[in-house]
Subunit: 152 residues, 2 copies
């Protein structure tokens, strides 16, 4: 039954191990920010918003929706909450008054820094241990996982 297409059982087991590493690494990676968010009554979705608003000053709502991959209705409630909590700022776009520019407030920057900071710190620690070549390899694998394969 073993041919060129079927992977050897041991290789399949190795790949399964890789799947599990991915699964549990992601879970562990989001655990710390989740914990911090909870003390503020916020959820992971708020972190995602804070992160991408932080990285993209003056981002418009529509652009944010595209990055997050959700509908405006899904964004609506948590974004309003962040604005009400004075963590995010929405100022009308000077050029196109229909649009709003989203930015982090000082408080928002502080919270975002605490949330993502925990993740950056962890990544930095691991990258230090693994070395520059290893870091590059990790980045390459992740980047290739994002790109669709030819056959897809």
């Amino acid at each position: 039954m073993v041919d060129q297409i079927t992977l050897p059982a041991t290789r399949e087991a190795e790949l399964n191990q890789a799947l599990e590493l991915f699964h549990f690494a992601f879970r562990a990676f989001t655990a710390k920010p989740d914990q911090l968010l909870e003390t503020r009554g916020l959820q992971r979705v708020h972190h995602r918003i804070l992160y991408f608003v932080g990285r993209n000053p003056d981002i418009r709502v529509n652009a944010l929706l595209t990055i997050l991959g959700v509908t405006k209705q899904a964004l609506h409630a948590p974004l309003r909450q962040l604005i009400a909590m004075n963590l995010v700022n929405d100022t009308p776009d000077a050029n196109d008054k229909r649009g709003k520019c989203l930015n982090l407030t000082a408080d928002g920057r502080n919270l975002e820094s605490a949330l993502s900071g925990a993740q950056r710190k962890k990544m930095q620690l691991v990258f230090e241990k693994i070395g520059e070549e290893g870091e590059t390899a990790w980045r390459n694998v992740m980047a290739q996982l994002i790109e669709p394969s030819k056959e897809e």
Copy 2:
């Protein structure tokens, strides 16, 4: 303001890039199975159940709960669905009739193979391109992300 603790802005930007790679790689990685699941009227939670039952023949409900990190009430509905669809089998444990042994049926194995197979194939492709050293580095990084740091 820059001292030993504050990361240089460029390093922080690199780490942010790593965070985004992780985020989008995970999203891309689950997209294909999700699509396949949808055609069967199933969700990601069903994939997780099928995967871990597949890797752990005769697993008990309690052990599955621990691995998945959810409550029995959360597992209840999707597991019953999988049993009703004849994808998972629950036979009483011969030694302890209170416990049930969960296993994939032939159909369950087929579906699980299709779901995780897509992910294994993708991983295998990327690992082939990156080479053995790169694969090892990737695994090391992921494994270290799972382990809690000393300060935590």
